[in-house]
Subunit: 131 residues, 2 copies
């Protein structure tokens, strides 16, 4: 999905996230398939994901070469599982394999450390200096 379609969760919102949460890291190479159909599907998936219980936020960037990284954040693995088997999402995943992507990786990961820097706050704070 295009970066301008995705809302970056503001820092303040992130500060209110649970102490334990999960990231789904999706890296993919777009095919040359129709951009409109892809974009409509991608936008719909963001809207749908945002409505799922346990959804915390999403960050997404795609470069000119068609390689994209989308990281979505979830309260627990149960939320991720439910999203994964959502009926409309399953159809989109099938479209993804048939039309949209040459390859993709989906990784689920438990976030164990988080540091944030914001120039307007002049801070680099976090609960895990090792990260």
């Amino acid at each position: 999905m295009a970066e301008d379609e995705v809302q970056q969760a503001p820092v303040a919102m992130r500060a209110g996230w649970p102490g334990t949460y999960f990231a789904v890291i999706f890296t993919a190479q777009r095919t040359m398939s129709d951009e409109n159909i892809y974009q409509i599907t991608a936008d719909r998936m963001v809207t749908l994901a945002q409505q799922q219980p346990g959804f915390l936020g999403v960050e997404s960037v795609r470069g000119d070469d068609g390689i994209g990284i989308t990281v979505s954040y979830w309260q627990d693995r149960e939320s991720i599982r439910n999203w994964r088997i959502n009926f409309e999402h399953l159809a989109a995943q099938q479209m993804g394999r048939k039309e949209f992507y040459d390859w993709y990786h989906v990784r689920t990961a438990e976030v164990v450390g988080h540091r944030t820097f914001d120039v307007s706050l002049d801070s680099d704070a976090g609960r895990d200096p090792e990260a």
Copy 2:
């Protein structure tokens, strides 16, 4: 860093990765600071990271709006800690806060599931169907 500067680890290599590994998810907003100095620094950091013990791979994309996501993969948290406090990397981090970024987030996460699709293999395999 620009996407053309980063080597995507091929699927086969990833298949040989350890069963347990960690991801460092770096999301950032670039300032309008000089692109050349940034690019030289970013390229150097990729080269340096690749030389660190425990480094597995890196994926990086930046969009036209200057928002970028870089995910690097590491064997264990010790490797991440050592990279974090690498002398040259510490200097680059300081440059990052002073010059390169309006904001960034660094998250360390333990990868607990991984699925891969490759159109040339017609497969969607992984050790965690839930992901």
